[in-house]
Amino acid sequence: MDLARLRDADLAALADAAATWRGFAVRLYEVDDALPARVIGPLAAMTGEATTAAQESLASLRGLLESRAMRAEAMADVFEQVHDGLTPLQRDLRTLLLQADAERLTVGEDGVVTAPEVAPVHHEYTDAIAGILSRAETLEASAVAAVTDITPERIGVVGVVGAHEFNDVRDDAHENGIALDVPRPRDGMSPEEARDWWNGLGLSGQRAFLLAYPEEAGAMDGLPTGVRDEANRWNLRRDIEVGWDRDAAADMLAKLESRDHLPPEKRAYLISYQPPGPNRDPDARIVASIGDPARAANTGIYVPGMTTDLPSFSAPDGGFDRTVAMYNATDKFTDAETAMVFWLGYDPPDAPDLAEPGHLAAGMSDNAANAGTPGLDRFINTLNATHDDSIPSHTTVVAHSYGSTLTGIADSTEDGLAVDDILFVGSPGVEVSDAEDLHVGAEHVWVEAADDDEISYWGNHGTDPAGEDFGANRLLTDTPGHSGYWIEDSISLNNMGAILADHPEKTTRTDPRNEFLGMVVE
């Protein structure tokens, strides 16, 4: 580094270059953000080989844009760091030169300072200048290395699709956390604090965090629904590549993507995803929504029962289809925005093994329900805390089978659940004997129990909620068995929709059961 180059450098050019790279990154993020709604979504409504190829190409393109944008940000960081490092060095150098001049010393272009009347070389000044120039040279060399290192070809991802590319980028981001300046949240933030932190990041900071820490972003209460969906879909795609139940994970992604062409208020969002372990032990944890609960005037939370897992989510008439059915049923009763959440934030008991004595033990036990109640309570509190204040909010839990046991425990202990209505469907009991024992209040407790739903007669978790003694509002059902309540256009489903839409006056009611029929599963 020679003296004149540092002394005369237009260092503001470095700040401008940083802004150029930052702007470039923002443009790439904007295109990446626009693709789902403007191109990928509309294409999803079309079929054919060419459309499939286009979809694959666009998925790959998004990965490309994201990795390039992150690297462009890193370039901006390099230029900023060099600017910040060189500016004080240049200032110190200029100050030294002024002082030397004031003392009538001569500074050569090689940085050697002489004072002819006193001594041939003025070592103090010379050494100071040499030190400054040496530091500047080190900075310059590291900048050259960084600029070369950050280029896209170094990660070799051009045109590569999928998780491998993403993992490369993420791992690289982790390794270069400081240089890439990926923002980090504080530990222990509340959902409201997390929301404010996120809003303060700006687009580029948000994208960097999302790309570098998708697991964290996907699980962070308080982040926007769309952001969590994006992060969790990355996590799901990774699970499709390397997980324990890849086919089921792929089926789930297909279900979610089947609504990507719809407007945002009707799309599917993956709010939380924890992949299953080996042999589905533990089962996956899934929270998915049709519509955005943060903006919905009516939000339903469907708590499913025993045997619910990753495969059953996507099965015909499974968790996803039921959630869509309830969303559509609600939508019929209201013009306001609706959200219907599938909440599998707990590990329900698996299917009983009928060949084994005591096969019903798991379903008889409250263990899984007790373990799940804090999660449901926390999820509902988060929904309320992050709901758009300008929109009224009515929240209902629709709890099926063993899910009703969990919900009953959750709403009868501590301060209960922060919801307006609870609807028990096919319930084997909710561990309280009277609807008045629930915090939501008896007038807001609703029950659907089909006459031929054997499980609803079990009573193995307490008083029959459809019975006279319990004191809930029983709704008419016209569907068969324990799993038929979601049949399209049925009275059972329409009644759910009316409760979810906060129109109880539009339900069809029936009298509570006045006897225990004592049906037993052999």
């Binding site: 180059r5 450098a9 237009d10 050019a13 470095l14 401008d16 270059a17 150029t20 790279w21 702007g23 470039f24 443009r27 790439l28 904007e30 295109v31 626009a34 693709l35 403007r38 191109v39 509309p42 294409l43 409504a45 079309m46 060419a50 286009a54 190409s57 666009l58 393109l61 490309l64 844009l65 390039r68 370039m75 390099v78 060099v82 310059e140 060399a141 900048a143 050259v144 960084a146 600029v147 070369t148 280029t151 896209p152 070809e153 051009v158 045109g159």
Partner: protein
């Protein structure tokens, strides 16, 4: 109609892909200009020159690849829309079908 195809949607999607390709073109142009300006304003410095060289040989071609994908999709959508429109016209005139 012989086919049930939403032609306006096809055109709108093609327009969107072309529009986004245009955004990338403009972004690449600004980047190219910015790195050239940096090299001009800091003559004799190593990394502005390195940066400019790498933008020319890696970053810009890389962006061109992204733009090309969007344009290919846009073109394919327009071709599809035109083919359907022609088929419909022929069908209406009693030529096809």
């Amino acid at each position: 109609m012989l086919f049930s195809v939403d032609l306006p949607a096809l055109h709108a999607t093609a327009d969107a892909a072309e529009d986004l390709a245009g955004t990338l073109t403009e972004a690449a142009r600004v980047l190219d200009g910015g790195t050239a300006e940096l090299a001009d304003r800091l003559p004799g410095w190593g990394f502005p020159t390195t940066s400019r060289d790498l933008v020319a040989v890696i970053w810009l071609p890389d962006q061109e690849s992204a733009r090309a994908r969007l344009r290919a999709i846009s073109g394919a959508l327009r071709d599809t829309a035109n083919a359907y429109a022609l088929t419909d016209a022929a069908n209406a005139a009693g030529i096809g079908g």
